[in-house]
Amino acid sequence: MGTAAEPQFHVLAVDDSLVDRKLIERLLKISSYQVTAVDSGSKALEFLGSRGNNGRSSSDPVPSVSPNDHQGVEVNLIITDYCMPGMTGYDLLKKIKESSSLRDIPVVIMSSENVPSRISRCLEEGAEEFILKPVRLSDVNKLRPHMRRTKKLKTHQQEPREDSERHGEIRSQPARQHELEIQQSQHHPSQQVPQHQQQKSSNNNKRKAIDAEEGLSPDRARTRYSGVATF
């Protein structure tokens, strides 16, 4: 855990909902992250452009600059809502991954809707994780391994190399990266392995069914989509 003296990981949170922004901000702060919260994708890109992440190659983090230097503060992770007016979280994700200076920043997507094709798309586009809202402390606890390491933000917990290996693995094999077991057991008891094609075709009906399910069983096991294959 970071103390006041240690440099903290800086998370950029993007959500158009005021309530959710306040919530994610608090969740992140209580987990010892430094937080910047913005209400749109375009504001996020603006912020990223002004924070010294710009114009730097992906493998080259900030050269020896102290963490308190205004130009040296970087973003170690972006967590964004999916459904936002204008630029969606997915659009933002794409823009980040298309940018040579930003693509190394890990991105996590949040959504209140459990839509398998949406989740696949995001993971395939390079999102580290897909978190279902409402976001809980246990979700935020899972963010730490995804944090982008920079030279000045080594922690005592993990080797930088170990993390970048895992990081690379997740990026290159996104198709395996989500668990649909719980959802599968609710709708197709006989199926074990998620089938992308099937999910896509019955997506709309499934969404209705899922929404109805939500109403009936609020205490159901929460579905998680993470960077770990769970077959």
């Binding site: 005021l18 309530v19 959710d20 608090r26 209705k208 109403g215 609020p218």
Partner: protein, 157 residues
Amino acid sequence: MDVGLVQMQRRLADYANALFKEGILDSQYLQLQELQDESNPDFVVEVVSLFFTDSEKLLNDLSRDLAQPNVDFKRVDAHVHQLKGSSSSIGAERVKNACIVFRNFCQEKNIPGCLRCLQQIKQEFLLVKSKLETLFKLEQQVVAAGGSIPTVQQPSL
């Protein structure tokens, strides 16, 4: 031991437990409480207050949207989606569930259904608002009397 304080705490705990039993609040509300501490002693009240003002605006928007000669269902759906999201984030279970039903009618472009749902959502919203305001008052009383707010135990459902 201050018997008055103990009684107040008891009343507070019973009141809170009832809200969970009646499905007015769900476990997400407990998550909010977990985020409150000495450094952020008013976090729950702050978030809930944001929810109140945000929702009131959305409900007004929805009334207006549905009163239009040509109802823009995309717009209506977007508003309900927002309301569903924020009610879910603070644990206002019944409001959230009413929003889910609303969205189904919206997808069917069923205006009478939407209007009925809107009434339902408004009722549920007013209910949770009134209950939470009472809950906060009870908490204030306990704190003012020198006590601490007891941890709410969600009854097994």
